[in-house]
């Protein structure tokens, strides 16, 4: 390769590969491939199926250990470990992407990118996902939609958005428009053009030559695992590139492709499993901490009272016993939350509905709060509020949850407002506080050993349960963006009495 005219030592390229060779059994998938990608450059890898494009993407992204050769990111060797590569800012979007069909758009976009606040406040996950999708100009509508309802092109864009959630240094796209219709491919291409304009370093593989000419700064042509040509999209005809790409026996192409696909799908399954396991692990760790806190107090107070060689005065004994009682109820509430949560997750959550007067539900919730906190809550509900067909106790649980959250996570003296507004066929309820917004502690990643933790954060189930209960009523619970404090919006359907009687 020719060196540009410049003095001194040039900065190392953003991404460089030297002599990459990868064999699968007797098949040589990559044969001594070297390339260099400058920061902000978009490089296309063109080649037929089985030419080694996906293998090259995998080797560049640390997803596969080459038999020989090295990959360097900013002049520093990259270990063949997808997690380490991701940590250094490398993101891969796979051809057969791994979206979780049972999750909604937002959860898929943030999958693996969750922050602690997302686990505590699922509404924030939706807000962050919506912001990211909006920034990238991805038109998929409501982020609460399940991904199985999306088209192929929309799924590709969700996968790209997921890769962009942590502002990667290098984005590797493996055939991002394969198997898409013309209109959908154009949408994905527009997204890549936009990322390129924002200065993201991109390596994209594919075989749509006209598209590559539009997208890339350079086109590298791969055949039989070797780099056979480099083309400048500015002075090459798409037909010439197509000619460079083609020219091999069909049988060989098929054999190579099948071997590569088998290797890739096994790898993807492992990755998806690992991700799911990590999330589960974080949840269990938080839960065990929450269970241990009341348990420590109960054990400690009980064993204090049981000591034969210590005599406690009446006041102390009474205090110890009342703490044991209080912490036992806290433990009981945690267990109830867990049962509710698993019922909601399993879809076997039952409501016993009747006509409910919402102001009464809210009053009941306020009366459950600690007496010193209750005066901080102000309720504003118009007298003409329609009755809703709902489970009184469960709705009360939602308000207790939201109110307790608002009071606990804010400094003392914070006021909480609950307002209700009748709409056309819904009632909208807002629970807002004028506190300092979310506690910055909650915005951190899950703490590891010896690091800080927020107090009273619970197992993070409260909001999930509240959301599940509202959803079981056919309503929604969302975070409402406000300049100060936190505001949660509940929308409940108001059904006509006649319809209800039919049901």
């Amino acid at each position: 390769m020719t060196e540009p005219l410049q003095s001194g030592s040039p900065a190392p390229p953003e991404l460089a590969a030297t002599g990459l060779t990868v064999r699968f059994g007797t098949l040589t998938a990559l044969d001594g491939v070297s390339l260099a990608v400058r920061a902000g450059e978009c490089v296309a890898i063109a080649g037929e199926n089985g030419s080694g494009k996906t293998t090259l993407i995998r080797a560049l992204g640390g997803d596969l250990a080459p038999d020989s050769g090295t990959v360097e990111l900013e002049g520093v060797a990259l270990a063949p470990d997808p997690v380490a590569a991701a940590r250094r800012g490398m993101r891969i979007v796979w051809q057969d992407l791994v979206l979780a069909d049972n999750l909604d758009i937002a959860a898929n976009v943030m999958l693996g990118n969750e922050r602690r606040r997302h686990l505590l406040f699922p509404a924030l996950l939706h807000a962050d996902a919506a912001r990211l999708l909006d920034r990238l100009g991805i038109p998929v509508g409501d982020p609460a939609r399940p991904v199985r309802s999306l088209s192929g092109g929309q799924r590709r864009m969700i996968a790209v958005a997921r890769a962009m959630a942590r502002a990667p240094r290098v984005l590797l796209l493996d055939e991002p428009t394969s198997a898409l219709g013309v209109a959908e491919a154009a949408l994905v291409e527009r997204l890549i053009t936009r990322l390129r304009a924002e200065g993201t370093t991109i390596v994209v593989s594919g075989h749509d030559v006209p598209q590559m000419v539009r997208l890339a700064d350079r086109i590298l042509v791969l055949r039989h695992g070797r780099l056979v040509a480099e083309a400048d999209p500015g002075d090459v005809h798409p037909d010439d590139v197509a000619a460079l790409i083609s020219g091999q026996a069909l049988e060989e192409v098929r054999a190579r492709r099948e071997a590569l696909e088998a290797a890739l799908s096994a790898q993807e399954e492992t990755m998806a499993l690992r991700r799911a396991r990590d999330m589960q692990h974080a949840f269990l760790r938080r839960l065990s901490h929450e269970l241990r806190t009341p348990l420590t107090a109960i054990t400690g107070y009980a064993t204090s009272l049981l000591q034969p060689d210590v005599t406690w005065d009446d006041e102390t004994r009474h205090r110890f016993l009342s703490r044991i009682a209080a912490e036992s109820s806290r433990l009981g509430r945690l267990v109830n939350d867990l049962l509710d949560f698993s019922a909601i997750e399993a879809g076997i959550f039952r409501l016993s509905c009747d006509w409910c007067d919402l102001p009464l539900v809210i009053d009941a919730a306020v009366s459950v709060l600690p007496p010193e906190r209750a005066p901080m809550v102000e309720v504003r509900a118009p007298s003409d509020l329609p009755a809703v067909w709902a489970d009184h106790d469960r709705l009360e649980q939602v308000f207790v949850n939201l109110l307790a959250n608002a009071l606990e996570h804010n400094p003392p003296g914070t006021r909480v407002q609950v307002s209700a507004d009748p709409g056309e066929d819904t009632v909208t309820l807002l629970v807002s506080d004028d506190g300092g917004g979310l506690d910055p502690e909650l915005l951190r990643d899950p703490p590891s050993a010896g690091q800080s933790r927020p107090r009273g954060a619970g197992a993070g189930l409260g909001l999930s349960i509240a959301r599940g209960i509202v959803a079981a009523h056919g309503g929604t619970l969302e975070l409402e963006p406000v300049p100060r404090g936190t505001c949660l919006r509940i929308t409940l359907p108001v059904e006509k009495a006649a319809e209800q009687e039919q049901a």
């Binding site: 107090a297 400690g300 107070y301 110890f320 502690e441 050993a449």
Partner: protein
């Protein structure tokens, strides 16, 4: 003089629990609900012991433990909700003298507090000193009376627990001592299963007293225990 314990803990129940139990036994207590004031309290109040919760808001507990140890010889017991072996070894390496996992029974905590205080506040252990006030092993000199250790003529600073462990090994020179024996003699009853404690402290003694190219001072007998080398005899044979 009463013994003063600094409780660093943000859970009001645990604070009340520990404080009540210490007070009823005649200890003085101080409380810090976060890590920020700990180092200044250490200087102004000079407590005899710190009970340190590892997970305080806004504080890295391990780092705080290291900073306390850097400034002071005070006894440190870490009280943590995390029970992993790795956290325990990390805490010991950061200078903690003992590690308790939540939830704990109060009797065990009190026993650990007393044992740790006994170990870290050495008071005239007069039994063996008269027989062998100074033991010399290779280039290491252990003055049992003055509780001082010199290596190749220059003084080496050992913490009280390190000294007790070295003393126990040196008094039985050449004899194999099991981990359980060392735990019982140095740490006290109730510590028999804490084998990592011995491992961590043996490693520290080696780092302070052995030279990388010289003969080993402490010999590990796999699965059995440790013995201190009888270096004078070895030298004579050479």
């Amino acid at each position: 003089m009463t013994t003063q314990v600094l409780i660093v803990e943000d859970d009001p129940n645990i604070v009340d629990l520990i404080r009540s139990n210490l007070a009823v036994r005649g200890f003085d207590t101080l409380v810090s609900v976060d890590g920020a004031r700990v180092l200044s309290l250490l200087e102004t109040e000079r407590p005899d012991m710190v009970l340190l919760d590892l997970m305080l808001p806004g504080t890295d507990g391990f780092e705080l433990c290291r900073q306390i140890r850097e400034r002071s010889e005070v006894a440190i017991i870490v009280v943590s909700a995390r029970g992993g072996e790795r956290d325990k070894v990390t805490a010991l390496n950061m200078g903690a003298d003992d590690y308790m996992t939540k939830p704990f029974g109060i009797e065990e905590l009190m026993a650990r507090i007393l044992a740790t205080l006994r170990r870290t506040r050495p008071s005239g252990q007069a039994d063996a000193e008269e027989e062998a006030p100074v033991i010399t092993i290779g280039e290491v000199e252990i003055d049992l009376g003055a509780q001082r250790v010199r290596r190749a003529g220059s003084e080496v600073h050992l913490t009280p627990t390190e000294f007790l462990l070295l003393r126990e090994l040196a008094l039985h020179r050449g004899k194999l001592l099991s981990r359980t024996h060392l735990l019982r003699r140095v740490w006290g009853h109730g510590y028999e299963t804490e084998t990592e404690y011995v491992r961590v402290y043996i490693r520290r003694l080696r780092a302070k007293l052995e030279s990388p190219d010289g003969p080993p001072l402490i010999v590990t007998q796999p699965r059995a225990g440790y013995r201190i080398a009888d270096l004078t005899r070895t030298n004579r044979i050479r």
